[in-house]
Amino acid sequence: MHEMSIALGIVNIANKACEEAQAARIDSITLEIGKLAGVQLESLYFVWPAAVEGTVLAGAERIIEEREGQALCLECDREFALQHHFDACPHCQGYFKKIIAGKELNVKSMAFTLPDNPVPAPSKTR
């Protein structure tokens, strides 16, 4: 159940972003999760309410964009869809491959509601 660590990682990122943007609350958060990233979505859904309770993410809509696995065969140099780590290249049956997609584990974006009288953001370039 490392999904709790994942969820708490998401809360940390949201906290920081919320602080920087001086947002009042987060309306929605978009996560990008690869199918080979080792995250069980059902487990993440299960721990989510407990992880976000009392945080900036409480009540925020959770949008998950799943990414399919994709590999580059290092034998025949062709790309192929990868459902499992142990799949062979369908072209040459080789197992030497580089995973080029499907390992994503990112907070992609967030939508905020800003307070009615926003304090001007401190001037810093980022």
Partner: protein, 215 residues
């Protein structure tokens, strides 16, 4: 607001810090992972007992509840810090950092980080180690590598332990290796028995060679 930030970014940052610490001290840090009962602690105990005169060792023990493993290592006379993860099923890089502050390892030493017995969760958490070693044993299924591909994908060496029991179990060594190579064609194997000592010299050579590669 676009973020594109890795969720495990914080763990990754601290892992890089640990890695920098190991590099500065010319230390070899080995993250030992396996399912419960594969003989991780036995391999470690035996290794330390046989090797402690030949190198400077330190151990970080990860365990959910008990101090049993740390006590076993302590009995060998090697400095050890126990990290109890409580409900946590894996070690994270900040726990390793805290343990290192207690251990204060000497330069040119060898650090074993014995992870929580679990082939799933520890795979995702880089601790800053130089090498990840996965242990499987002949009393387990030989299809473990494809059941838990993330772990075998991220390890550099696989120790096949309890090799002395091979005549009594349905474990096909070649099959296990073939499965592991499907998820990680670069993975190396050593067949060992921590109880009777089979193959351990090769494992010790591997450790010393990796240690020398750092310098």
């Amino acid at each position: 607001m676009e973020l594109e930030q890795n969720i495990l970014h914080h763990n990754q940052l601290l892992a890089e810090r640990n890695r920098g610490y190991f590099a500065a001290k010319n230390m070899l840090a080995v993250n030992l992972v396996s399912s419960p009962g594969s003989g991780k602690t036995s391999v470690l105990e035996r290794t330390l007992r046989d090797m402690k005169e030949r190198a400077d060792f330190y151990v970080i023990e990860g365990d959910q509840q008990t101090f049993n493993d740390a006590d076993r290592i302590d009995a060998v006379g090697v400095p050890v810090v126990q990290v109890n993860t409580g409900q946590g099923c894996h070690l994270e890089s900040d726990m390793v950092q805290t343990a290192l502050q207690k251990l204060k390892p000497r330069d040119n030493s060898l650090l074993f980080i014995e992870n929580v017995g679990n082939l799933v969760c520890p795979a995702m958490f880089d601790l800053g180690e130089n090498k990840r070693v996965v242990i499987i044993s002949t009393t387990e299924g030989d299809d473990k590598p494809i059941k838990y591909p993330d772990m075998f994908h991220s390890a550099q060496l696989c120790l096949i332990n309890k090799i002395d029991l091979l005549p009594y179990v349905n474990f096909d060594v070649d099959k296990a290796k073939a499965y592991a190579r499907r998820v990680n064609p670069d993975i190396e194997f050593l067949e060992v028995s921590a109880t009777v000592g089979t193959g351990l010299e090769a494992w010790y050579d591997w450790l010393l060679t990796e240690q020398q590669k750092l310098a």
